[in-house]
Subunit: 355 residues, 2 copies
């Protein structure tokens, strides 16, 4: 059976002050009416019933996550005791899936991306699942056709064609510098690795056993406790001892039977506030206004307020203004990473309660 | 006896969102610990006892004004039923003063200016009062030596010298254009009219009788009701019928015995947010931060928040950010009058409740 596994462990810095440590990006409603994680679940639910949805999150975010996804079975909300990157996260999920359904295929989805249209995504996901059914040893991942020479994503180089839009993976490439990214874009045989995977749960556990035996052993120890009163203690004790490593490093780059499927859907990683005008559009002056806002003589600004607090801008250009009840950000657009500097400053000044 | 008459009828647009229709600029604490109107009263109180302070305000602001100046006698808070410029305002005040003290001299002060140091102001005020005592027909006003070619103030041209720093007024000049303002600055015989006057209450009423007999007649009708149960009704009925005219047009430009005293004190009309860095100073990056604020990579900004709401700025230059519980302004510095355009926009968009 096919299960959807939503990875929801993101931190809350890039969308501060809207996102917080206990309320990260995937819980935000940045576009439309549903939060990113709700949209991620919605996107699958016409195809994979919500009874087979799983969410891996952390303790700080568990309650808010449960509140947003009340239809997902309570036992399918897996709570990591600490952050340990994607390999331990997916090992834990795979162990639970196998315990419930030994032949489970898992569709792994980051909780905080925007994918449109959903119908294209469903078709592509079904195709990926069919490729796995055809050969259960396959590890399938989606590759997004680059639209600009991004230096922020890992790349997948495609090799031999296996079918329409499906290729053997030739190599994984780390985040490139600008020149290399431009070359990848020109060549046309490179995809962005968007972190969406399809594989048998048992198969990924097997691969982890080969490449990261210690991680696998700890996973097995936790797995033995599933459904027993010892589970909580085992998880709390074993999970933190796992190596913090991504599934890409732990497995994908070391395996040979990896298939990349060209994503036929629109994909956006919603990496910063810049995604909001990209996804919601702008008015004639280039502004994107959300909540109670009044923009006078204002151009190319992103303004987000609540429904009852007025944010008025005057003569402003190329700025981001985000109001929340306890904190307001006013930033120049352009330096997407600077917000981390700001977060550090706030911490140094003893303003953690606003983080 | 000398009385201080504080004119406190300002509107709340230039310091929006901190100032509001019912909470105008003079009630704000922009610098230091006391509001502008409190500082105005404080500045006189070592010299003119608070029992002889008077405040003219309007109905919307009366309660807040009373709250800020609890030591001023309740009967000295005069409430205009509508806005009618400075001639009716001062006629009303003069009528009340004469009723209490027929020989009253009134020191007229706008409530919303900053004057420093107070000791210099007291010395200058005493000198002005002495000039009036010497010749009770004199109308004395203070002239501020221009420091830049302002096009926003009216000017006083001085004539014959009457004593050190005291001159007969040669002429009043309307707000000039830039070229004319530059000429005034060069010539050195022009002062800014800062709206601080000293004269006998009976004398200004007499002058109003000569130049604006109808206004004077209405004032007398109100004056007859002072202390009687009819006062409220008389005020409500007669005051709105008064001509809306400034004391400058109504009297000063038509009289010949006007004396201008060169102000030996620092004076700032606190005309816009630009006054805040001017009066409070700036940090090394040129920023003025008030309330809970964190400025990263920020230059030449004015940031004002409350004590519990964090305003964080990032990569910002030459902006004004003002946070209040129900509204936040983010504006580019430079166009001091644009805020009126914004206020109009808010009104058009049905956002009056934030004004």
């Amino acid at each position: 059976m096919l299960h959807a596994v939503i990875m929801a462990g993101g931190s809350g810095t890039r969308f501060w002050p809207l996102s917080r440590q206990s309320f990260p990006k995937q819980l935000l409603t940045l576009v439309g009416e549903r939060s990113l994680i709700q949209s991620t679940s919605d996107r699958c639910s016409g195809w994979i019933p919500v009874e087979r949805h799983w969410v891996v999150t952390n303790a700080a975010q568990a309650e808010a996550t449960r509140g947003q996804l009340p239809e997902v079975p309570a036992a399918h909300l897996l709570v990591e005791p600490c952050a340990r990157n994607t390999a331990p996260c997916l090992a834990l999920a795979a162990a639970h899936l196998v315990a419930e359904d030994p032949d489970a295929t898992m569709l792994v989805l980051p909780a905080d991306h925007v994918i449109q249209p959903a119908a294209e995504f469903v078709r592509a996901g079904q195709r990926a699942a069919a490729l796995v059914d055809e050969d259960p040893r396959r590890l399938v991942l989606f590759g997004v056709t680059p639209t600009f020479p991004s230096t922020g994503f890992g790349y997948i180089e495609r090799g031999e064609e296996l079918g329409p839009g499906a290729y053997a993976v030739q190599a994984f490439r780390e985040k490139p510098d600008r020149g290399v990214a431009e070359a990848y874009l020109r060549v046309g045989t490179f995809y962005w690795n968007c972190g969406i995977f399809v594989w048998r749960a048992a198969r990924i556990l097997e691969a982890l056993g080969v490449h990261e035996p210690e991680l696998r052993a700890l996973t097995d120890e936790i797995a033995r406790g599933i459904g027993s009163p010892q589970y909580g203690q085992l998880l709390a004790e074993r999970f933190p001892r796992m190596k913090s490593i991504s599934i890409d490093y732990a497995v994908l780059e070391r395996e040979s039977s990896i298939v990349v499927l060209e994503a036929p859907f629109g994909w956006d990683d919603v990496g910063s506030w810049e995604a909001v005008p990209r996804l919601s559009g702008t008015d004639q002056a280039g502004n994107t206004l959300q909540g109670k806002a009044c923009a006078v003589d204002t151009r190319r600004c992103i303004v987000r307020s609540t429904d009852d607090h007025l944010v008025a801008t005057l003569g402003l250009e190329d700025c981001i203004v985000v109001h929340t009840p306890d904190a307001t950000l006013v930033a120049r657009r352009g330096d997407e990473n600077a917000i981390k500097t700001l977060i550090d400053s706030l911490r140094q000044q003893g303003l953690e309660r606003h983080l």
